[in-house]
Symmetry: C2
Subunit: 288 residues, 2 copies
Amino acid sequence: MNQIRNGWFSELSELWPGQCLSLKVKEVLYNEKSEYQDVLVFESTNNGTVLVLDGIIQCTQKDEFSYQEMITFLPLCSHPKPEKVLIVGGGDGGVAREVNKHPLVKEFVQVEIDEKVITASKKHLPFMSKGFSSSKLTLKVCDGFEYMKKHKNEFDVIITDSSDPIGPAVNLFTESYFRLLKEALKPNGIICSQSGTVWTDLDHVKQTLDNCRKHFKSVKYAGSSVPSYPNGQIGYLVASLEENVDLTKPKFKFTGSQIEELELRYYNEDVHAASFVLPNFVRKELFK
Amino acid sequence: MNQIRNGWFSELSELWPGQCLSLKVKEVLYNEKSEYQDVLVFESTNNGTVLVLDGIIQCTQKDEFSYQEMITFLPLCSHPKPEKVLIVGGGDGGVAREVNKHPLVKEFVQVEIDEKVITASKKHLPFMSKGFSSSKLTLKVCDGFEYMKKHKNEFDVIITDSSDPIGPAVNLFTESYFRLLKEALKPNGIICSQSGTVWTDLDHVKQTLDNCRKHFKSVKYAGSSVPSYPNGQIGYLVASLEENVDLTKPKFKFTGSQIEELELRYYNEDVHAASFVLPNFVRKELFK
């Protein structure tokens, strides 16, 4: 699983056959097998600290802000009053860091199944794990499925920051998961889930959206540029339980000075709207 | 220069140190050294046919449409009457293929310095080089600089489809090149140039825009997702000689049926506008 050869980490996976991103390694900082997966942290020569789970890059210090800000603020800024938020996954702390920035959030819960990811991030990715120090956060090490079964009708927004649909995260793209999300939400609740890239497996993105459509009335797909993810593009499924909600227009807008103070490096209201604009080949497939 | 090892082509370059995309090779179709550069064409296992110049991927069959459509239609659709167009570079024929689709174009000229790129593309990349069969096209094998020195005040739009700022293309990002472009254009002319990725060398993007601003009054930067380019993101400098031209709103809009008939897989009027929306870290640097 530790795919380091000749000083380069290479991200080979059956999820994107025939293509491979490699990052040059300065130093391996952590590598342990948890109950769930292989956890690797290394310092790269040009992309800062890198977290890898089961051989797949989860984030690099250089570009993680694009993903963390988008998966957080797309749903939070689409909700009129996101006071109580649940994060499923996100063991590096990056999403918690961003949720903590939103002025309307009063409290949030995070459930991460793998304690070793939290431990490794606290030690080696402080720029992300600082999210765990929020006074608004209750952090639980447990299975998101089990947690949501016991918490119905409770959250305004649920963010699923999962790894790819292989290994421990495979169930987070299924119809039964979207049913659980629906039940854990308040009536006008909104979700956002990591939802793959349109360039390698558009069919899987479509299937995930179709699974979601069985339980949510407004379902959209947005994308952003994240160089260290496969194809340099990652998608976000954003969905509301309510009908005819325009998720592409943020209800909450950060001011210019908030963007500075809160250190938003990617997200703004124009980026929000633009991220839902899809190339023809994607629009045709996902929204025909 | 032929960076194939163990059945994988790896794109190492000093332009993006510490990161490397690799594509699995099925068969090498062509590899010759021209007067200007090393020209390699291979069939990949999952990305179709791939053209590589001096070790850098120029296009893959899988995703080339994003780049070709955007670099062509961003300027053509921003111009009220793009009747006469010049393409500098673009020896694979992809931009010619797209320019030929625009209903208002009456004639276009292409100047490519390296005949071997044209020859290799005609033989091995027919899906792109079919652009050369347009009856509206005059194709010339010569230096774009020399050509433009002799053709003043002649074109409505000039597209510079160059390789990266290393090797034969290094001069296509300088102030003197933008002066030549200005002089070859009619008074309300518009240009579009390949303009690098914001993720690896934002300073170079900024420098190129600043060079352009010395001769053009409205200067913008757009981006699109192209997985086989470094960071999966490529930028386009779009500029007009006129003041206060809103390049982000297309003047010509393809209808839904034109999009189908002309096989536009990426570009539409919403993508046009959205491509100019920039993340905070880019906006701040390029437009402060």
